[in-house]
Symmetry: C2
Subunit: 583 residues, 2 copies
């Protein structure tokens, strides 16, 4: 027993107790004949008091302690003269009788404080020190709480947590696999799972009825700030369900999580079709914390002789309430924003509803005041509002206006991290066209079922076939997605055909699944949540990296352990592989 | 909504209800004008009744259903005339009004019954069908329950579940790593973790105080029946603890699990030193479900002129109570057993304490009746007992006698799978000599701390240094093991030196850990349980394979998905690796 209590535990109720505490030296200060040390552990901070009058030698030793030294003290709980009511232990301190240094510490390369002076690279290299900081540790405590709450909810609902294999088989469909050479099967490779998709479907064929797993998944993709080569999913599947059953149950899960972990009532989740989401927000993951919905203006703005509008497939606007006072400079900045190569718009048209009731647009020479009035009316604009309009190819323009809407949301403080707005986006297209490969790809994955009434369109208008697929979106981020699966061999084969698989390819890669479908597969469907992303939203963070204990950088490296690394020639020989000469 | 209830739910309390059920056709039988179908799902079996008098067409369709068809029925709950009180739904049946085939099924390649006719290979290939069988599914339900109970207990005790990375760095120490070529870091490799050992220690340095994880680990070893290339650990670590704290807490965990999941009181776990375990059982994982402890007989049996005893380092016996009646043939069989190459003994000596009080041994010509009496007395033998004695090199002889003891335990029915005997084995040696490499290896791993009082022996008698290391043993199986770790850089460096690491090797492989020790590392220790093995013991099974949803065979293959497999040249090119020509 190194300690009797933790550093977050003692209060006035413990006055007079003889205790032993352990922890790290947070900071120390001298006041006259006294030395005070804040000692920290995971649970809190306790003040230690050393009085020169009582024991000068002990006090002298206390003064020699550096930041982050690991110490053990024995002493008595006494009342503090100068109380700190911000912390739970702030009314007491420890009158120290004995002090032992358990381990000395070099000065850390950055401050172990809530606000630190360490840059990203340094903090990644010394991740074990960064993890000592309260905000970082609190993210992982939140993650722990969410994982336990998810499991508790799903266990209550009769879901069985089943571990699926990590060493599986590479399939070319989808993202790039990480592969693992097999020593016992020369020249062959395992792959790490991008998701346990086929295994959870097999568990449904096995009659497991309700499955879940909080599970690591892997994708060898070029990394962005919010991507990691290994990430965690809450992976779920149910048999004998329709889409409605899944939406209801997992809406309940999310409500439970918000209530349990954040004490937030998220309410009933609205449902929006993919088509509506694109039409009203230009995104399949609309941030519904704020309105500013798109208004299509073709009938209002076309035919007035302004070629940009007249020649456009779509003319569409948003209303920034109360922004009529934006200066020319501010509007120019917004125009520059949408013209950036990442967004690629050619311009931005505004209409300002001035305080005096007059209307002023950047295309006044094409529009009469009456026409401007009709425009403002179509936008449901009031005095003081600013209307921003874009025009062009429908899909591209929607995506561009979505970026502008989000930027305005940021500027206007409408994207509050402490506010949560969740919804379901449903009726996703089954297929999407890929310009690179000149063929249709599965928008979710090849096991997603088409809506029965749309199957006939597979041959004539594949892009219009809707799927029984759904995403959960919170604050403009897709946190989960799933579908009702195909469970009949014939339909699955038809889908593979439409995705450009030869029969042989389909059989080699997914033969076991199609075979399984012939032995009594039940209707089934499921969902997977990106757990890292869900935690980051709960934590109010922008990046998933902050909710991962030991993340990798954008080159896929763990700079703390210096991985990946070279391996020995002996290892390569045993695996019967070589590094290419060109590498 | 495909169903209103499950197949394990309806009872007499539901009489008259209109219900909808879904499930698999277990079997069907005709009785006069009636057809009865047992419909199965995960939750149970419900009897469906089709009466030709009511609806001949419906009954005709029911008769066409094959085994394992997936069906949906609507009907009314009625009382059964012939009740089956063995199952929860045995007093009711469904008078079916409507029947829909959701999916037809080919005849499965083996019987989906508790007792099946399928061989191992066939059941592995069609694992998704084997998982439909109650005993197989029940193992995984048990696994789920145990995982939830473990998490609930540890969460209550303040442990945080933290996910550690799967893509880490290869280290030559220990077993062989699986490696993962990195596309973004040409010529470099990740390794899959054999355990999260260093990461959990870093979390202690980070002040996480109490960590756990139920986590997949990987070892590329040649497989035996009870080994899998991927396996699951309950991995735990605590700061500011001594060995005693860990033993007490995890003893509580095991007691909680036994009580919660099996309603078994496992009681206080005895502690036995490694030295005693070897002396009394010839094993560091003694099966303490039965006695039959070793008795060392050197003083009693040496000097009588029998060279095998006289020249032996150790003469040691066990007493098989009530086995004096063993025939010569039975004793010959035991002798053959210990002479098998896997055991390698040269012979077996017996002493029989006959019912008439006489003593008979296989070495009578060397021993007087008085000497035989002394022998029997040393063994605390009674009339009717059989004494079996082996002699030779102490270590080898103990191991051989351990095998004999276990075999006798089996033969005498003393190893009851429904009886549980758990203990701690403590004070393991720190190092063990390896004849192949001619050097000492860490018996647990290089981070295990030596007992402070034994550190001086590191230079003079390394094999005698005891570690603060402990195993939990249940029914002769090591289910968990751990240690108090080294937390000081100097001692860790000393250990690496004794393990034959150059300073450079130690720095390259574990520099990050030794650096971490210089920034304020607390004393810490932990334990890891083999979760697969623990579940298999709770389930009364011999192999861990039966508690894994999708296990691999002895060649490391998943024969269901046919993995590992070849990958495309394009994948190899992207990874800049080649398969060796000799492969």
């Amino acid at each position: 027993m190194y300690r009797t209590h933790t550093c977050g535990q003692l209060t006035l109720a413990d006055l007079g107790k003889k205790i032993t505490l352990c922890g790290w030296v947070q900071k120390s200060r001298d006041l006259g004949g006294m030395t005070f040390i804040d000692m920290r552990d995971r649970y809190g901070v306790t003040q230690l008091a050393f009085n020169a009058d009582d024991d000068e030698a002990l006090r002298a030793r206390a003064r020699e302690l550096g930041r982050e030294y690991v110490i053990q003290v024995k002493g008595t709980v006494i009342e503090r003269s100068s109380k700190n009511l911000k912390i739970s232990t702030g009314e007491i301190e420890i009158k120290v009788a004995d002090l032992a240094v358990l381990n000395a510490a070099k000065l850390p390369p950055f401050l172990i404080e809530d606000e630190t002076d360490g840059g990203d690279d340094l903090r990644m290299k010394y991740r074990y020190l960064d993890l000592r900081r309260n905000p970082v540790r609190n993210n992982l405590v939140l993650r722990h709480q969410m994982a336990q709450a998810v499991r508790s909810f799903l266990d209550q609902q009769g879901f069985l947590e089943v571990e699926t294999p990590v060493l599986i088989k590479s399939t070319p469909e989808g993202a790039r696999d990480f592969v693992v050479p097999s020593r016992m099967n020369e020249g062959q490779f395992y792959a790490l799972p991008q998701s346990p998709q086929t295994f959870k479907q097999l568990l449904m064929v096995s009659g497991f009825d309700r499955y879940f797993q909080i599970v690591k998944c892997f994708r060898d993709e070029d990394l962005r700030a919010d991507r990691q080569p290994e990430f965690t999913q809450i992976d779920c599947e149910m048999a004998f369900v329709e889409q409605e059953d899944i939406l209801n149950l997992f809406e309940e899960l999310i409500s439970y999580l918000f209530k349990k972990v954040k004490n937030v009532e998220i309410g009933k989740l609205p449902r929006m079709t993919y088509a509506d989401a694109m039409r009203l927000y230009g995104s399949d993951k609309p941030d519904t914390r704020f309105g500013m919905q798109f208004v299509e203006l073709n009938p209002v703005l076309q035919g007035a002789g302004f070629p940009v509008f007249d020649n456009a497939e779509l003319v569409v606007g948003i209303k920034a309430e109360g922004c009529a006072s934006y200066t020319r400079k501010q509007i120019d900045a917004l125009t520059d924003f949408v013209k950036r190569p990442q967004i690629g718009a050619t311009g931005l048209v505004y209409l300002r509803y001035n305080e005096d009731g007059s209307l002023k647009s950047s295309v006044d020479k094409f529009f009469s005041q009456e026409q401007l009035q009709a425009w403002a009316k179509a936008m449901d604009a009031n005095v003081g509002d600013l209307i921003l309009v874009m025009a062009g190819d429908a899909d591209k323009t929607r995506k561009q206006l979505n970026e502008l809407r989000l930027e305005l949301g940021n500027q206007l403080g409408l994207r509050d991290k402490n506010k949560f707005s969740a919804l379901w986006v449903v009726d996703f297209p089954l297929l999407e066209w890929d310009d690179d490969t000149k063929r249709y790809h599965a928008m979710h994955h090849p096991f997603t079922s088409p809506k029965p009434e749309d199957i006939a369109l597979l041959d004539t208008a594949p892009g219009e076939v809707r799927a029984n697929a759904y995403d959960m979106v919170i604050n403009g981020t897709e946190v989960g997605g799933g579908s009702i699966r195909i469970f009949e061999k014939d339909l699955q084969q038809l889908m593979f055909k439409h995705l450009g698989f030869t029969q042989e390819e389909a059989q080699t890669q997914f033969g076991f699944l199609m075979d399984a479908f012939t032995y009594g597969a039940p209707p089934h469907g499921g969902i997977a949540f990106g757990f890292d992303r869900l935690v980051s939203i709960f934590a109010g963070l922008d990046s998933i990296r902050d909710v991962i204990a030991f993340p990798k950088n954008n080159a896929g490296r763990d700079v703390m352990i210096d991985s990946p690394s070279s391996i020995s020639q002996e290892q390569l020989d045993e695996l019967k592989i070589e590094i290419s000469a060109k590498a």
